[in-house]
């Protein structure tokens, strides 16, 4: 039934503050994965680029302004839509892209009923997250390590 659909592409953004903490958002009641913590974001609409979708979603979900040129692709996860784990065939493919940024305008405030909170990257693995957010959190940790090792390379 969903066999002829192309993959659904969802973008998420890790806002990384000056202390290296990351903003996670709790899914509101009444939604799929309610109560779980995720990287904020949403699906790419037809006619949009992935970066445009990321900028729009941050404005809609957290009321922050982003410049798309500040977005760094960090990693992705893929699965099937609505999948908790096993691999049912015939479902629509889902691709979740994670960007990171250290630059935005405004103070992020959750606009859609869930709460938003800052976490140290090391603590992300202990949060209850939707399945595809775990590999994204791992990718973010690798990227943050690499990013800070580049920044501090002279000091070692």
């Amino acid at each position: 039934m969903a066999k002829n659909l192309t993959p659904l592409v969802v973008v998420a953004v890790a806002l990384v503050d000056a202390q290296g903490h990351v903003l996670m958002q709790q899914r509101p009641e009444g939604t799929m994965h309610a109560g779980l913590w995720e990287f904020p974001g949403g699906k790419v609409d037809p006619g949009e680029s992935a970066e445009q979708a990321a900028v729009r979603e941050m404005e809609e979900e957290l009321a922050v302004g982003l410049d798309s040129s500040s977005l760094v692709p960090v990693g992705f996860a893929s699965g099937l839509l609505g999948e908790g784990g096993g691999g049912a065939s015939g479902r629509r493919a889902l691709v979740l892209l994670l960007y990171a940024t250290r630059a935005w305008e405004g103070t992020p405030v959750s606009q859609e009923g869930g709460q938003a909170q800052w976490y140290a990257p090391q603590g992300l693995g202990e949060l209850a997250m939707p399945p595809l957010d775990y590999p994204l959190a791992d990718a973010l940790k690798i990227w943050l390590n690499h990013d800070s090792s580049e920044e501090y390379a002279d000091r070692c």
Copy 2:
């Protein structure tokens, strides 16, 4: 005209051999980006998952057999279809996903007219590649570094 299309999702695979070399494929004459070197792959067909597409493309392009469970998401790049650099609006969004694997069956032989060749990761940046393959090569280098530092963590 292309405004109402959802993003085109293309998957690519870095086959990494025991020496840590990576297989790159040269685009055949008469295709877009002819002569440039890229990570082998192709687009995700409707009804397919990204991993299924990666397995199918490696079979079709290089006649190697992959197990989708061996595929590790490494990074992604996004742009507009047919874009060389600037940002024309109204074009279709393109998302290019890179997986890596160290396990496959068979010897990769290019099936579609281009040649395939192994390169050390440090040499990838010097190859002439389509624009979106450069950030993928960077992501691969970060991943290979991380992967080998995990593997050799005890020795340091």
